[in-house]
Assembly symmetry: C2
Homo-oligomer: 396 residues x 2
Amino acid sequence: MQTILRGPLFGPENLLRDNRGMHAAHPDRTPGSLSYEQAGVDYAQIDPLKISAQRAAAATAGQLAAHGFAEVAASRGESAYVVDVGPFYLASIVECLGSKALVADEMARLTGRSWYDAIAQDTIAMAVNDLITVGATPLVVQAYWAAGGSDWFADAARSQALVQGWRRACETCGVAWGGGETPALAGIVEAGRVDLAAACTGIVQPKERLSLGERLAPGDAIVLLHASGIHANGLSLARKLVERLPQGWLTEVAPGLSYGAALLAPTPLYSPLLQGLWQEGIVPHYCANITGHGWRKLMRHPRELTYRIHTLPPVPPVLRFIQQHAGMDDRDAYGTLNMGAGFALYLPANAAGTAVACARRLGYGATLAGEVLPGAKRLVVDPLRLGFSGADLDLR
Amino acid sequence: MQTILRGPLFGPENLLRDNRGMHAAHPDRTPGSLSYEQAGVDYAQIDPLKISAQRAAAATAGQLAAHGFAEVAASRGESAYVVDVGPFYLASIVECLGSKALVADEMARLTGRSWYDAIAQDTIAMAVNDLITVGATPLVVQAYWAAGGSDWFADAARSQALVQGWRRACETCGVAWGGGETPALAGIVEAGRVDLAAACTGIVQPKERLSLGERLAPGDAIVLLHASGIHANGLSLARKLVERLPQGWLTEVAPGLSYGAALLAPTPLYSPLLQGLWQEGIVPHYCANITGHGWRKLMRHPRELTYRIHTLPPVPPVLRFIQQHAGMDDRDAYGTLNMGAGFALYLPANAAGTAVACARRLGYGATLAGEVLPGAKRLVVDPLRLGFSGADLDLR
């Protein structure tokens, strides 16, 4: 029953993606600034279901005993669910793209080309980047593409972009695309729209690769892997913001780069990097995929620890643009968006340099950004003079 | 490349659920009868995507070699995707409920109670009943509940019904509910609606339990496990039909049983039975989950074999009612709906009696219904004087 009280059985990025972050982070907001409530997501309405589902899900864990297996209880509330099946651990996850498809649709209308190759990668990234946090090697991805009607699939250019983007993302992650489900759900999914999700299954092998945070401790280094942009979190806000922009989606956020195109920069797939670290003999003590809640997600692990950031990763232009045009101060921006930190590795301090070098060799941006300290659950961002307390991350 | 030509990488129940069955089965239809085209699903529009996705998915199989694993190629085109991970096989699947949620919504409006406990079971049945066809023991279910807005989750009675129905179905199947995703997708999912799906992961252990049809052969017996009603296939047609009924959803299909309630009889979970058979030492040579394409699905395996049915299972009243009111002859009805056969087991003839007894002991209806014969791919239903050829099942 501890796990119920401690953690969401539905990971925070599930119920809480595109979410209340800003309000919780900064109740006294500037008039004229945009909030997630204004963007249409009301978590007070979802929470009772979430709690009830968490309890019911936790109550089913004992079912595994009949098969001679057991859940890894510490994975309840983490980004992927882990079961001990003997020779290794089994990890699984289902993840949704969210409302980024609506941005792809708008940009297709304006540019005459499909952007579904990019959001195919985003969808897989949502699943794979969660699955790898526990130390799993992703093996199989299943596609879930639910359209508002059969006609959605008749747009050949869009369909091809989706298929090829999906395939390439699978290849990047070294996973087999097992199959999937492509229902036409008129009356459930809006006409002309698609609900994209991915299920991913992997294994933790050898079992020593499990990284659920048991070894997370003061003295660990924090390496932040760079983000390519907004990823798939914050899109409700980003879509609301477009109404204020003079050229809408085509407003430039940097020379030659439209707001819409910048939002659609695909989320990096961090899986090859985690495999690369393993080949270097590095097992992270913990990992956090930075989705909903922005940097507050750095405090994800339930333990009472302080996380001190001394060096900031570069901020993608589109996130700086959103911060400025939505009237967000640093507290709002870093408490809601990834602000350049797509994924956090918590490592033994003596492995941090190797990890950063390995990341760069594999083409990822990476910053040795901070350290874990003893103390109350707290995130301190020195360069911005910001602090968030554990209470600011209301995931549990 | 054989597997591309041979089988759908997206199982037939994926792209082809609620589908063209009737037209393909009976081109010369009676005026006034209902077809799937009329019910709004047009598969000619989906097929190019399907073929392209199949090829792209098949091309990713080699990715597993880098991890020291390999796909089980015969599982491409079957109901679950199977990977050889050494000590056992890993099987995974994602499945969608489809449009049955719309019937639950209508019945809630008319009866003042929620029917989401029933369709929670249906959703899990769609995934689990597919996963077990390959011989897998399902271990983990992930929930995918995408709503049209946060307010969907605020209906406490409905949410509780969904949660408790989901939990009970997991318990029946002996699986752990790992977690899931509950996004609020305004602008993608229709307001007031929910898109329900389930991902399921399991293992085949020992590996001898794999039932992809290698041992399927003439002389095998066919045992049909009884259906509870329409399950989750045929709902588009069933919803179209309601417009013709005098009392609509509340029209009686049997004394005291409304059409709507009968449609919402939850799909049986066949997993405990497959576990029971294993405990009796019975490994089916092959299994078919009867979803889209009705009885034509009995010819699912790619091999050239003739399937002769000598004994019919009882027809649930709601299916007989649909057949009559939609003006379907037996060819249409059996070629489209399950007509009482929810799941088919292909077994060594000398195990059939034990299998039927085991099913009944565990509370399932079961009929020793037919046999496998040498010959061209063909289904012969003797009691109805019906025959379907392999060309009538255009899955591949």
